[in-house]
């Protein structure tokens, strides 16, 4: 039988605020900070301490909700989710349950050559837990509560995805949206975005839902797609044999490449949610929503439209730039500060610059948002190429040198005398010399093997120190070779 996957995704994204969700402690990078240094009585769950809502986190959450086209609830309610675990200091997590911040949004994804919306069921605010690390010798578990209380946004989709490709597209698009909104760094390695997938199968063509499993703690796109591929195969095999799927919570073993059972339905936690009595209901006034809506930045769809329709970029280059918000910002900066033509800038950015950065394993944007190559310098290089002042191969060489030395294109060109030779008279002399010195190749050309012109062009480039304008040289070669009088 042919099976159709049915998948819904819960995405947990940390919100980029200065302080934690319910106290004044700084949000620190818990992968590097000294453990338990950014803590206070509130986030340690000390007796007598009380939470206070971080309004900035609410603003960021509203921004995401509005960008997803959600309906923001005028009143939402925080609730306690009760369970015992050492990374949860109060013995409950403050989350939202019955009345979330926002509901009924959607996110457009592109998969399988088509664009379609994935419905978002709800968006709600909660606090992150701490982190446990387990040691073998001595056998012990250590708790770091720097992350406890960091604002977390949970975005829950409807079970609208039907392939691994769609799930990946949704996760990627959502991550990109969060980055565009500047509410999350998008740095998956730091665990700032985490996934849980609800996965089931049904016979293709039917509409009822099969028994689903929940796969928890997926911290990378790779884990998300691999675990899903594994689960789909596993479930199909069970169903093919006439078996049934057990409703359960699964973990993902990255090393073994398989899911494993954590809890069956019977063992499922009863979280005993109830409204958090320490916090008043959260009111989102019309004024507040209007203010947030006005602050919405240009989102990926709008950027694509601008790049393709207004700036004339081809679809491929546009997507490469769109993928990361910082690339869009860099690209805009390049155009603005250098006057380089957009299409050339896009091609050189997405192709050569990215290629060189990848080879060197350095990011476009370094610490503190400092680019690997200043946008204006890069733009000026592109402009020199576009204006015919240097040729493409020289441009490639210069780009690498600029990256490595930090010198400007201008300085490097002047230093080495690399200006392109575009003057036809100068080049004609060089072309004639090459023709004179290579009668064998000239004969081949005249006998119909026209591809040899590429070799001759190379010779001209060599004699001009690579500075000749290749287009002009080609034109001149064709002229000279086709002139029988010269034979």
């Amino acid at each position: 039988m042919e099976w159709e996957p049915v998948v819904g995704l819960e995405v947990h994204a940390e919100l980029r605020t200065r302080s934690k969700m319910f106290c004044g402690c700084a949000v620190v990078d818990s992968t590097v900070a000294e453990p338990n240094t950014s803590t206070c009585p509130v986030c340690l769950g000390m007796p007598g301490s009380l939470p206070v809502i971080n309004e900035r986190a609410v603003d960021l959450a509203l921004l995401v909700a509005l960008a997803l086209g959600c309906r923001v609830e005028p009143v939402s309610v925080f609730a306690r989710k009760n369970y015992f675990y050492p990374d949860l200091p109060k013995g409950y997590q403050i989350s939202q349950y019955e009345l979330p911040l926002a509901v009924e949004g959607s996110l457009r994804i592109e998969a399988g050559g088509e664009t379609r919306p994935i419905r978002v069921r709800r968006v709600h605010l909660e606090e992150d837990t701490g982190k446990l690390s387990h040691e073998e010798k001595p056998a012990r578990s250590l708790v770091d509560l720097n992350r406890a209380g960091v604002p977390l946004l949970e975005i829950v989709s409807e079970p609208d995805m039907h392939s691994v490709e769609e799930v990946k597209a949704y996760a990627t698009a959502l991550r990109r949206l969060l980055c565009y909104l500047d509410v999350n760094s998008g740095d998956m390695e730091k665990g700032v975005i985490r996934f849980e997938a609800n996965i089931s199968l049904r016979p293709k063509g039917t509409s009822e839902l099969g028994t689903r499993v929940e796969v928890k703690n997926l911290n990378s796109f790779r884990a998300l797609t691999r675990s899903m591929e594994y689960e789909l195969d596993r479930q199909a095999a069970v169903l093919e044999k006439g078996g049934s799927i057990r409703q359960e919570t699964l973990g993902w073993d990255e090393n073994a490449g398989r899911t494993y059972s954590q809890r069956s339905k019977e063992e499922a936690h009863d979280y005993r949610y109830f409204p958090e009595p320490d916090l008043p209901p959260l009111e989102a006034s019309a004024e507040r929503i209007a203010r947030i809506r006005a602050a919405l930045p240009e989102l990926p769809e709008a950027v694509r439209e601008r790049l393709v329709s207004k700036l004339g970029l081809n679809r491929y280059d546009a997507e490469v730039i769109l993928a990361e918000k910082e690339t869009v910002d860099y690209f805009d900066e390049v155009i603005r500060t250098s006057g380089a033509p957009a299409r050339a800038a896009a091609t050189w950015l997405g192709g050569d610059l990215f290629g060189l950065l990848k080879m060197r394993s350095i990011p476009l944007m370094g610490e503190g948002g400092k680019p690997a190559l200043p946008a204006r310098e890069f733009g000026l290089l592109v402009k020199m190429i576009a204006d015919g002042k240097i040729n493409g191969p020289t441009g490639k060489m210069l780009l690498a040198e600029m990256l490595d030395t930090g010198k400007s294109a201008d300085a490097l060109v002047a230093e080495r005398g690399l200006q392109q030779i575009g003057d036809a008279d100068t080049l004609r002399a060089a072309v004639r010399a090459v023709i004179a010195e290579n009668p064998g190749q000239v004969d081949q050309y005249r006998n119909g093997k026209t591809t040899v012109i590429q070799w001759l062009l190379g010779q001209v480039m060599k004699t001009t120190g690579g500075r000749a304008n290749p287009q002009t040289v080609r034109r001149l070669l064709e002229e000279e070779l086709s002139d029988p009088a010269k034979g």
Partner: protein
Amino acid sequence: MDPLELTLCESAEALRAGTLSSAALVEAYRNRAEQLNPKIHAYLNIAGEDVIRAARDADESWSAFRRGGDAPGPLTGIPVAVKDVLCVKGYPCTCGSRILENFKPPYTATAVERLQSAGALILGKTNTDEFAMGSSTENSAFGMTHNPWDAERVPGGSSGGSAASIAARMAPIALGTDTGGSIRQPAAYCGVVGLKPSYGRVSRYGLIAFGSSLDCVGVLARTVEDAAFLMEIMAGYDPMDSTSMPEKTPAYRKTLSGEPDLRGIRIGIPKEYFSAGIQPDVDRLVREAIGVLGSLGAETKEISLPNTEFALPVYYIVAPAEASANLARYDGVRFGLRREGQTLRELYDGTRGAGFGPEVKRRIMLGTYALSAGYYDAYYGQAQKVRTLIKADFENAFRSVDIIASPVTPSTAFRAGEKVDNPLAMYMEDLLTLPASLAGVPGISLPCGRDSQGLPVGLQLSGPFLGEETLLRVSWSFQKVTRWHKEAPSP
């Protein structure tokens, strides 16, 4: 002058005038506390010698003021007893529980901090039922408090230590907390004034939570004026407590002067509070007290609070439900008692099993059950709905009356051990104080006589939400023309 005979307001006046030294005042109370504590056990912890040094510093401040310097805070040099559920930096805070026996909070509760900022000195931490769960102080893991009027009897609870400390002159004033009657009931049993303010009037930050939507910090005092004095300083919005009220705190004491005159005040007498089960002496004395209010010009009339009978079941769902979550943090991981185990589960079970007493365990189980999947709607959900009705009862009543008057408890202080094995009988103790707690309105217990055995009887007055001003004015008027609050048990 015997400093122990002065009210708080009188002491403050004398310190200001220089006719009394803080050192003498604090020393007198500290000696008294040390001397009587073996018998009464009002305190879990009495301040050391350093409080005397702090008192001398206070005396310096006052004499500097009299030489023309700046006025120090109004409570400078005044000793205050604090119920051991409020965090005070430097003091252990046990909540009367083994699980917090060695817990020293790294911060001070807002209510206490405000008193300290006004110059108050902490005289000690008073005994309480474990996590404030109880009506007799017998649930303290460190031994019960005895009623100063009759050591065989309970002082009430859970603020029994604070109430006893006032009655026995072991403190001039004490902080208590009231979740379902835990200030008013012990105040009645000990013959002192007990004020539970409106929910949110005083910050809960640093109060170790029992039932978060009900917990109130309040005062046990000798007189209404004393309670008003402390409230003025302690009440008010606190950014650290999102449920605290933004409204400005009135200058309560300003209205407590002149002639006691209650003309224009309408007093409602809820018929449901005078049903069978009220001890005849209590019924009689409370009706006489209401008569006194009438003689001062108040208009009295019978009213109905029809949902009163549901207050007990509602409370014993809501408070334990909240408690079950509030007490989850005592897991042995970060602070308090820890019983090691081979597994995480053993750590939890061992720690909580050894650390909590039977009443706390009972309420955690009650609350956990009420919140469980499949039972939530029938218990917690339903209780919240009925709580809304109880609140509406009060709102309706306060449309036609200014104050509601009733007994605080159906009877006077019972004998120690009498109800420990009967939780339901113990819960019935709170019958008449629970409704105001659920409604979030302020209530006060005033001494209004003694029963045939010589035990104090309390008059309960309740006012509308944030209506402390009128409540205190009526209470003060009552005390102006009665003498019950001046009586003290013989040591």
